[in-house]
Assembly symmetry: C2
Homo-oligomer: 158 residues x 2
Amino acid sequence: MNYEVKRLVVNYKTLEEFKQFKEYGIQELSMLEDLQDNIIENDSESPFYGIYYGDKLVARMSLYKIESAYDKYFEPSEGYLELWKLEVLPHYKGKGLGSALVEYAKTFNLPVKTNGRQQSSGFWEKMGFEPVSYVEERDRGENPYVWYPQGVSEQRLA
Amino acid sequence: MNYEVKRLVVNYKTLEEFKQFKEYGIQELSMLEDLQDNIIENDSESPFYGIYYGDKLVARMSLYKIESAYDKYFEPSEGYLELWKLEVLPHYKGKGLGSALVEYAKTFNLPVKTNGRQQSSGFWEKMGFEPVSYVEERDRGENPYVWYPQGVSEQRLA
């Protein structure tokens, strides 16, 4: 089944829908304040992508581009995407919506890095991700799982 | 009630006990490999602190010192502690073990930063922590809650 993944815009409807997701936090509150204070415009681009069921947002993720100067995971280092807040609403799980979002993230053909949450390693491995070699100073308790596009490999740290 | 908080040493018993915690991940697997490969010695210091009930580890957290050169949260900037993997085993919740660990983290008299997990803001605020002003480039989807010792405040970003 193919799902349409949309880049989400920041407006009051989107921010209201975000409240349904468990990982609603400081990031979303900050977006709401910026909208209220006219620091960002209505319908401006957000780092979030999502899948709608009819009019209802039922799955989302955030993608944030890390520039190569800050890339400590990949080589050659041409920047990568950090994927976070991947979440499917409870009644919509098991339909492949999470996988569809992750597959979409891969289409940019940049390496992807995520912090695999508890007991999610099976999911990430199914999606073609691999755990990194853990480095305390860099990874700080995270569970980094990464996806390498063709020609990219793990960065050897000095 | 006062609980004794101990710095945990890395050995096979500790690493076996870590498997009871939901946030067991790449960090713990890496410690196990390092022990097996003799890269680290048995009973070497770990970044983890915990509380025992008799002989059984029932609560833990990790504290990692961030040097001032990498401090983007506090000023004056004299380094801070990053607290992660705070977790109490299910049967031992509601007894103040989590609070005891956090209070222990404060005794170093350095600022403390954590990534508040979903719906934990009430707990962190009760512990005297505050949410930061969210900055996408720095916080990348995290929910940073911080504790300021006397004389320390939020860093103003350029």
